[in-house]
Amino acid sequence: MMTTTAAPTGETRQIGSPAIVARGLTKRFGAVTAVQDLSFEVRPGQVTGFLGPNGAGKSTTMRMVLGLVRPTSGSASVLGMPYASLDRPSTAVGAVLEVQSFHPLRSGRNHLRVLAAASGIDDARIDVVLEQVGLTDAADRKAGGYSLGMRQRLGLAGALLGDPAILILDEPANGLDPQGIRWLREFLRWFAASGNAVLVSSHLLSEMAQMADALIVIDHGRLVRQGSVADLRGSRSTLRVAAPDHAALGRALLAAGLDAQRDGEAYVMSGAAAERVGAIAHAAGIALSELAMQEPTLEDAFLEMTEGAQR
């Protein structure tokens, strides 16, 4: 069931309707096609991970969504309209696309004052976002002296100035220490749980597996898959078994009709119960050194998808 609400921009949007929609986005830089016929949706209430190898077209796509790069063809809309048509875009979307997007001789606070003025946001909000990202103590220092993690936090503070309904972040975990990454993950989870939408790209697949609800995977500018993390990761777990006498173990598994793949000193198979494999080894008099169920990882799925797309 859809209900309507007033979006921070003053436009009326439907809860449940996509926050971001891309349709047939294509971008060519001369002879190079960076993004090709890319379509996807980002829904509110979710953290949507944007995955792809280096040069896959993630940053270009985000810039097209935000009106910074003009698509060769196709279109993107935010809360139902092109980004450039939003009345007060900072209250609709907060975005961080580069680690450094500030004058190095300007203090963090003054950088935010510049952005607040451009967006018509009261300066009182600056202290709130500085506190939110944990940068209050360094706010009056020149931003050029910030560490990588502090630069990320300053970028995020700028994105949060307008209290937006959507966050678009390009590799926000770069440069953050483990505490910072955990803070970011919890913040984005909270932000999405409040009914907002998050589109975040990252190379840290394990981090993405913990953070994201949905994933968009692209490669060579094309969509490879879009779906929930669970869907993309797959449900097929595998069993890994090893023995000091791995040749005997291989013969026993083969004799039992199991399709086991050799993986170094071990065998890996899917669709077999650990109890059955243990019984086979016991019956053959083979002592096992390892018997473990392995859940599919996002990394495995990602590599499989992107390598599949390249073939």
């Binding site: 875009p89 500030f102 004058h103 203090s107 003054n110 510049v114 451009a118």
Partner: protein, 245 residues
């Protein structure tokens, strides 16, 4: 537009660029004034607005105003702050318009600072030398307006160049080479063509001849310089609007 102008004003105020340019302009204007007064005999009386100390301003003001204008955009392109600027205000024409308002005002202020320093040093120097200085309020006001217009128009030309070229070093080096060398070369080839070019138009605006050829009238010079500023801003804004960031 008001919000964006406020933002551009804050950008200008919160780095050292404007203060560095102001210090350089004041220092150079003061040095030039001192040099001219030290090497010129002015007799027993002189009209303040007719003093030769005004002459160096036709080059000093354009150089600093041009750099101010170029940096208003290229600083943002260089440091990446153009991205949050455009995310906050995606209408690029408005962003360019707000930059124009602030840069033109700052260019005029820089130019006024230069002429004030020049005139104050002159008055003090001449008073010490016992030269009677006459000041006609009307001609002083006209001189101040002309110098302010010179700063405003050259900073606008600089902004247009910055928006068009985007790369800071290329924009500053290219425009300074034109300012200091380019027009002189054109003048060697054709004095008639050189008369309508920006440096010559600026000198004509102040009622000074830049070369052998007689300058155009000050109002014509102002019109020509304004046309160059409009052309530069138009081309720069068009390039800025089409550029992928």
């Amino acid at each position: 537009m008001k919000d964006q102008i406020r933002s551009e004003y804050r950008k200008l105020r919160t780095t050292r660029t404007i203060w560095g340019l102001l210090a350089g302009l004041v220092a150079l204007s003061g040095l030039a004034t001192w040099g001219i007064l030290a090497s010129t005999s002015l007799g027993v009386s002189a009209a303040l607005t007719a003093l030769p100390v005004v002459v160096p301003l036709v080059m000093v003001v354009p150089v600093f105003a041009l750099v101010l204008g170029v940096r208003a955009y290229t600083d943002e392109a260089r440091h990446g702050s153009i991205m949050p600027t455009l995310l906050a205000r995606p209408d690029r024409r408005r962003v360019a318009g707000a930059k124009f308002v602030v840069v033109a005002a700052a260019g005029a202020a820089l130019a006024l600072a230069a002429i004030v320093v020049t005139l104050v040093i002159s008055v003090v120097w001449l008073a010490v030398d016992g030269v009677a200085v006459t000041v006609a309020a009307g001609s002083l006001a006209v001189l101040l307006v002309k110098v302010a217009a010179l700063g405003m128009l050259w900073s606008s030309i600089g902004l247009g160049v910055g928006l068009f070229v985007s790369h800071q070093v290329a924009a500053i080096a290219g425009s300074l080479v034109w300012l200091l060398v380019g027009e002189n070369l054109v003048e060697v080839i054709s004095a008639g063509v050189a008369k309508v070019l920006p440096v010559h138009a600026g000198t004509a605006l102040l009622g000074i001849s830049a070369g052998d050829a007689a300058p155009v009238a000050p109002l014509v010079g102002a019109g020509l310089l304004a046309a160059w500023a409009a052309l530069s801003l138009g081309a720069g804004t068009r390039a800025f609007m089409r550029r992928d960031i």
